[in-house]
């Protein structure tokens, strides 16, 4: 018999509607799954089973009364960057270790309005800075995947490390993530699940702890493309409390999933196939191209000439914004305070103890690039590059409808991998994803193949601004061809 936790959201909703099981039963199964695997994986910062069961009970009443929201009775968990009213929200930083917001983020409120059930808050790299799930104040998150014949712990990717891990290990039906440079797409690829970074402005940022405001976007991680579409449907929408949120109607994403991509023009950017790119990544990319071709898509070679400057620009713009965004964590109003002999001493002690190494590094880089005398050479130049990258895509979209690239340059690596001690190597994980954030475009990551070592490999579909529907549909078509078995090693018994 299929476990309730193996069902997709679409299947679960069907079962709930047809009274095959209740939301309470579904929720209890997910809670058991969390109890079973949490010690091994460390995907959660906070679990909220009592809240989940109360919400599930309410969902069951609603279902009985025929009042079903889009996600009625569906157990989810949220990256611990989403402020949740009266529930600790930490950004996985010591500096917010005991912070309890008195407000609910717009996106989580949207999900609750659609009947979602909350299982807890998920781990991330501290303040969403990282690509490995190893910079959280609350310890490493472990991938539920293992390489063939190896017992070594692998990273789930990051920064939405807990989100991808929990979805992959069926501890939640789906999760929210955030993506500033690849933080939804890279862990989704590493964990063999599906995630989308929507167009900048599609989801409200209100109530989400900020990393880099002009790049941050909320998005879902789920078991498949249909669930991803449904989650995005519930999360998205204009919010007058976020001045950068777009006042554009949200289309019906699940309805867009026809699987028909006949005549769809798909661009393959040559700059994403640099010399020395991992052979297995190249192979899975070629496989994806073939599959989409078989479905009637037209494959077109394109060029995105400024790609090579993207990573450098990203690692100037994001830290610059972060250095200001994180200035509010100063020990004065909330969060950690370490007393000092005067105000400056208190600041220094609080921030030194409150922030981890990677956060401190980025705050310092950001402060440096904005400093008098350096601004033009770094920040201003990076913004110019950003405009060029955006223009690259605009040119490309005159010829193609979507762009297909790998999601990551490698499969998941081991925790403690020495080569990743060099921050530059860690940052290279974002090489295929940061352009999308810089250009503000939507990007979908989904599993398309396996490495020779038995680890998931993902591809990325990049769309026009506010055209998530097209990449979701292309992803849906690809998913049908791939038939990826996303059950991780840990769950295969």
């Amino acid at each position: 018999m299929t476990k309730l936790t193996d069902l997709t959201i679409t299947q679960t909703i069907k079962g709930l509607k047809e009274k095959e099981f209740t939301a309470t039963e579904v929720t209890k199964d997910y809670i058991s799954q969390i109890e079973k695997y949490e010690d091994k994986l460390n995907a959660f910062v906070t679990t909220t089973p009592e809240i989940a069961l109360t919400q599930a009970k309410k969902a069951d009443e609603n279902i009985a009364n025929g009042k079903m929201g889009l996600l009625e009775g569906i157990p989810l968990a949220f990256k611990d960057l989403y402020c949740t009213k009266d529930i600790k929200t930490t950004a996985c930083s010591n500096i917010l270790n005991n912070f309890v917001p008195k407000y609910e983020s717009t996106v989580t409120q949207n999900l609750f309005n659609q009947g979602a059930v909350m299982l807890g808050k998920l781990q991330l790299d501290e303040f969403a800075m990282g690509a490995s799930g190893t910079t959280s104040f609350f310890g490493n998150t472990i991938s539920p995947w293992k390489a063939n014949n190896s017992d070594k712990d692998l990273v789930p990717g990051g920064s939405s490390s807990g989100s991808a891990t929990a979805v992959s290990a069926r501890m939640v039906a789906a999760a929210t993530g955030t993506d500033t440079g690849g933080s939804i797409r890279q862990p989704s690829a590493f964990c063999g699940v599906t995630g989308i970074k929507p167009t900048y402005g599609r989801c409200s940022r209100w109530g989400i702890v900020a990393y880099a405001s002009s790049l941050d976007q909320a998005g879902p991680i789920a078991k498949d493309v249909s669930d991803t579409a449904l989650m995005l449907q519930a999360m998205a929408g204009f919010d007058e409390k976020d001045s950068t949120s777009a006042n554009i109607k949200v289309p019906n994403f699940p309805k867009a999933l026809t699987g028909d991509i006949k005549g769809l023009k798909i661009g393959i950017p040559k700059e994403y196939r640099p010399d020395g790119l991992n052979k297995e990544i190249c192979d899975v990319w070629d496989k994806g191209i073939e599959m989409l071709k078989e479905k009637g898509a037209e494959i077109i070679d394109i060029s995105l000439p400024h790609t090579k400057y993207a990573l450098a620009s990203y690692y100037i713009i994001a830290p610059a914004e972060a250095s200001a965004n994180l200035a509010r964590y100063d020990g004065v109003k909330y969060g950690l305070r370490v007393d000092g002999k005067d105000l400056d001493d208190m600041y220094m002690k609080t921030r030194a103890q409150g922030f981890g190494e990677e956060v401190r590094r980025r705050v310092m880089i950001g402060t440096y690039v904005l400093s008098a005398g350096y601004y033009d050479a770094y920040y201003l130049k990076a913004q110019k590059v950003r405009a060029l990258i955006k223009k690259d895509f605009e040119e490309a979209y005159k010829k193609v409808d979507i762009v297909l690239t790998p999601a990551t340059p490698t499969p998941a690596f081991e925790i403690g991998d020495k080569s990743m001690e060099d921050p530059i190597n860690m940052w290279l994980n974002d090489i295929f994803t940061v352009t999308v954030n810089l250009a503000g475009l939507p990007g979908l990551s989904l599993p398309v193949g396996m490495s020779s070592t038995g680890l998931p490999l993902g591809l990325q579909l990049i769309g026009r601004p506010f055209d998530e529907a097209t990449i979701l549909n292309a992803g849906y078509a690809l998913e049908q061809s791939v038939k990826f078995d996303n059950k991780p090693t840990l769950l295969r018994g």
Binding site: P101, R205, S213, E240, S243, T244, A324, V332
Partner: protein, 485 residues
Amino acid sequence: MKEYILKGKTGDWEIVVGLEVHCQILSKSKLFSGSSTAFGSDANSNVSFVDAAMPGMLPVINKYCVEQAIKTGMGLNAKVNKVSEFARKNYFYADLPQGYQISQFDKPIIGEGYVEIDFNDGTSKTIGVERLHLEQDAGKSLHNEDPNKSYIDLNRSGVALMEIVSKPDMRSPEEAGLYLRKLRSIVRYLGTCDGNMDEGSMRCDVNVSVRPKGSDELRTRCEMKNVNSVRFAMQAIEYEAKRHIEVYENGGDIHQETRAFDATTGTTKSLRSKENAHDYRYFPEPDLLPLILSDEQIDKAKGEMVELPDEKKARFIKDMGLSSYDASVLTVEKETADYFEEAAKGNDAKKTANWVTSELFAVLKNSNKTISESPVSAKSLGGLVALISNNTISGKIAKDVFEIMIETGKDALSIVEEKGLKQVTDTGAIEAIIDKVIESSPENVTLYKSGKDKLMGWFVGQVMKESRGKANPGMVNKLLKEKLG
């Protein structure tokens, strides 16, 4: 306009002054949040999650504050920039919750403009305005509540300010004082700032440098922060200019620095030098889109513009025949100008202006009241002036009536009727009094007739006295001359 020169040991010096004035925008809610801006509320009672910089909170621009800035820009004869941009000004301080102030940097909402200042001698001068930008205020640190701790009040955090930066066009403390007063007058007319310097809703940073007279160089300036009255600003300028001269004349050099003005001693002292100046690391605020003004918004502001002091003054001179001085005095405050116009309705404008600027102002000054608290309404004062003009009462009696009006609040006519103060203009009645006076002083009549003309005054006085001031003085004069031959 008088040239202002400071005499030094080595020669004459001229001073160069520029002002940065922070005006709190009159608005019920803050620049980026819906919190109240009420003055004098309990500490930390007007603080939203945004004002306290809670994680994940985002600013949303208050459109009303933008409209207020546009109107002020128009009042400064300045260019309204249809596209402007907010920027983060980064620095750490305990009463700055975000760790940055949202301000405007290289793209302010208002560009260059000017303000006319008027001197007492009737001359005027144009002071250039460099820009006006929008920014949020910080909170307030309270250092005197506890010997070991400081407290923070965030009520002011996020309140909307307009920073109005002048060009370095002022050459004397007087000019700076006139500029500040004129600025205050303009924003009050527009209703965009209450101009209250003692409540801190208008604050001033003063930049001062000096140069040898005749030179056009701009030497190193010093900035005095948060000077909170016009008088203090003028004192600070004078003190600082003299300090610069002394330093230069002793072979020293002035270093760019921020100084504080101490009102109790009238002196300034160094706060921080340029080396320790903040590097604010300005960059465009990514939480806000560029501020793009629509034609509608600009037209709306245009439609809401009121007659400003300069225009009003010109009209008072041209259409109402007032002197430049009276027109200036009457137009500083909109309330005064409105009062005057109401009182002058149907009356002689000059006579009304005299009554307002002399009698009424004296009463207000003595009772420490503003014109809106005047015990005599504009209409009542107009009534009094009318009684003088139509010869119902004499100017002298009018002063007595005015005093009763202040005490009782009654209108002039009813007082005149009640007390029987109506001027006697009946020839027969006046002649009777004159006859009585002539009869009772034959010696003086003889003296007058023998050529002592000066006695005429004495006769008039006697007649007026006999009539208890009510006889029409003109008629008394005329009839007396006839009777005495």
